[in-house]
């Protein structure tokens, strides 16, 4: 035992003594301070000021924050964020889980791995398209007069269903949600298919012998094994959903009215269109706080579930 300890000490003096490694952190540290930490601090400071971008910011205390609490447009933007979460987290995770298990359990095993990975690649394609281009593709299909969607509805006699999809306050948000579902679906499919490889087929066979049906096996075995991936997917996609910007910018600019406003577009328009930098900074700071809260709650929940699992 003493021998081992002395060896590990000499090892740490040659290899792991921190001081000499500090030099490697200098460039990254300077960059992250200049581009992330200091600007974030400045943005928080702006949220307590009246600042229109030209004259220096004037301290106004909590005025912007008080305004924010009573700003219907701000609350509407977060309501729309919930729609984005449905489109980017809830639907893709549930449908992705279904598709991944069909592709892995059935297509991969009975029709061959090539077929399964080809289909997986197809589901993944919209993921690699720039989001703004994906939005424009859907926007092009939903064009008001001669768009493909309206033309097809007309062709099957559903003239009454034709509309200006993005110009209609009730349909603009669902159209943007369609963009996000289309783009996002491939991500959980790929991640869950990789995770399903960890499921031990023998467990499945044993459960089958015990008379468990497909649903019971799926719940008790599959979901339990791939739970870490479900956590990762829902966390990263929820954060992404709260940050949605490009489709709103490219398709509706938050309109018609405020029907598709989202927090990130709202703060952008306050910065560069209304020139209300102080208020824009308040919105973006509020969004930052929400994202950090969501991430913290997720990580605590995950830790708690893991601990329960260990105790069992």
């Amino acid at each position: 035992m003493p021998k081992l300890r002395s060896r590990s000490r000499s090892r740490s003096s040659t290899l792991a003594s921190g001081a000499g490694y500090w030099w490697y952190l200098v460039p990254g540290f300077v960059l992250v301070m200049a581009i992330i930490v200091v600007p974030l601090g400045q943005n928080i400071y702006y949220s307590f000021t009246f600042y229109r971008g030209i004259r220096p910011p004037e301290w106004v205390g909590l005025q912007n924050w008080q305004h924010l609490m009573h700003d219907d447009k701000f609350w509407q933007s977060f309501e729309n964020s919930i729609a984005m979460i449905i489109a980017m987290v809830v639907v893709p995770t549930l449908v992705g889980l279904l598709i991944a298990s069909v592709l892995f359990d059935l297509v991969g095993k009975k029709f061959g791995g090539k077929v399964a990975s080809f289909l997986r690649a197809t589901y993944y394609i919209p993921q690699i398209i720039p989001v703004v281009v994906a939005a424009i593709v859907v926007g092009w299909i939903a064009r008001p007069q001669d768009g493909a969607l309206n033309e097809m509805l007309g062709a099957v006699g559903l003239d009454g269903a034709q509309r200006n999809w993005l110009g209609d306050p009730t349909w603009a948000l669902p159209t943007i949600m369609a963009v996000l579902i289309w783009v996002q679906l491939g991500y959980p499919v790929v991640v869950f298919m990789a995770a399903l490889q960890r499921v031990d087929p023998e467990l499945y066979e044993a459960a089958e012998l015990d008379g468990a049906n497909w649903w019971n096996r799926f719940r008790a075995i599959t979901l339990a094994v791939i739970r870490p991936e479900i956590f990762v997917v829902t966390l990263t996609c929820t954060i992404a959903a709260l940050k949605v910007f490009a489709p709103v910018y490219a398709l509706t600019r938050g309109g018609p009215g405020t029907s598709t406003i989202v927090p990130s577009y709202y703060s952008y328009s306050e910065f560069f269109q209304s020139q209300q930098v102080g208020y824009g900074a308040t919105i973006s700071t509020a969004l930052t706080v929400v994202i950090i809260l969501v991430a913290t709650v997720f990580l605590i929940a995950q830790r708690r579930v893991e601990r329960q699992e260990e105790q069992r």
């Binding site: 980017m88 593709v137 991640v191």
Partner: protein
């Protein structure tokens, strides 16, 4: 691209063919048909785009969106190509994304060498800063960065975008690589130390070659994420001749020049580069993460 950034999970899939092929029931065929139908629905917008980008507006209006073009027309493609000077936009995107990929991996490598292998003091708060940098909405940095780059004279230059994304991407890279390097085989480091290699040589002769798989995956993901970015480029690249491909496609929407087939052609040109990139690197993307022993 903002929103839908995906992080590389273990994308490796290895579906081994079963030893003996089980019997296929009618139900199996139905489920397969469902999976194929789903894939076709996902592809459908792209098929529509492909069909209609080679039509004239008249051809589109006469035959509708589902008809094959009555004759091949490059009207839309050439109009968009010339109007935005597409080769220039392509070069801008390649330059910005390429620089970010290389610089971002370099910064991640140095950071992770210090944090994961060097295990310097105070690495936990540092890792937390990098994690935070990775989660922040870019709007929370936008105006201060706008002021910063204006004051140093880099506003409306590609370097502003390159610097910002080098930091944002390397925040993720640092986080990922540090966890990989924290389980780096100590024997290899010891062997290098016994051979008299210093830290700098150990980094390039031992650490980089051993973790090359992970580094190349980061390189590819940084490239494609930066290519797809929108908010920061649209804020910082004002001049037409500095813009990237996604900006070029978005900037012409609503222009009176953009008839129905030119719009379709613009979207097609906007997604072809990433599609080619995906086809070339699909194997690397799917093989890399697990092969690099990333957890």
């Amino acid at each position: 691209m903002t929103a839908v950034q995906t992080r590389p999970q273990t994308t490796e899939i290895d579906i081994r063919p079963p030893a003996s092929r089980p019997r296929r029931t009618v139900f199996d065929w139905l489920l397969l048909a469902g999976a194929v139908l789903g894939a076709l629905i996902v592809l459908f917008p792209l098929i529509l785009l492909l069909l209609n980008s080679f039509k004239t507006p008249d051809d589109y209006n006469n035959g509708g969106p589902l008809q094959l073009p009555s004759h091949l027309s490059f009207h839309g493609l050439t109009t968009f190509w010339n109007r935005v000077d597409f080769p220039l936009k392509l070069w801008n995107s390649i330059f910005i994304s390429g620089m970010v990929a290389v610089l971002g991996v370099l910064v991640s490598l140095f950071n992770a060498y210090g944090l994961g292998i060097g295990r310097v003091r105070g690495r936990l708060p540092l890792l937390l800063v990098f994690l935070l940098a990775n989660m922040l909405p870019q709007e929370a940095l936008l105006y201060p960065l706008y002021n910063l780059f204006k004051s140093v004279g880099l506003y409306d230059t590609q370097w502003s975008v390159i610097i910002i994304f080098t930091v944002i991407q390397s925040a993720f890279g640092t986080y990922l690589l540090s966890s990989v390097y924290s389980s780096f085989p100590r024997e290899l480091l010891e062997a290098a130390a016994i051979d008299g290699a210093g830290r700098w040589r150990t980094l390039w002769r031992v650490v980089v070659p051993v973790s090359w798989q992970t580094l190349s995956v980061l390189l590819i993901f940084f490239f494609i994420w930066t290519w797809n970015e929108f908010l920061i480029p649209v804020t910082f690249l004002i001049s037409n001749d500095k813009q990237t491909v996604p900006l070029a496609v978005a900037s012409l929407q609503g222009d009176r020049l953009m008839d129905v087939t030119t719009t379709s052609a613009s979207a097609l040109l906007g997604l072809i580069p990433t599609l080619i990139f995906f086809l070339i690197f699909q194997r690397t993307l799917t093989r890399g993460v697990t092969a690099g022993a990333v957890k």
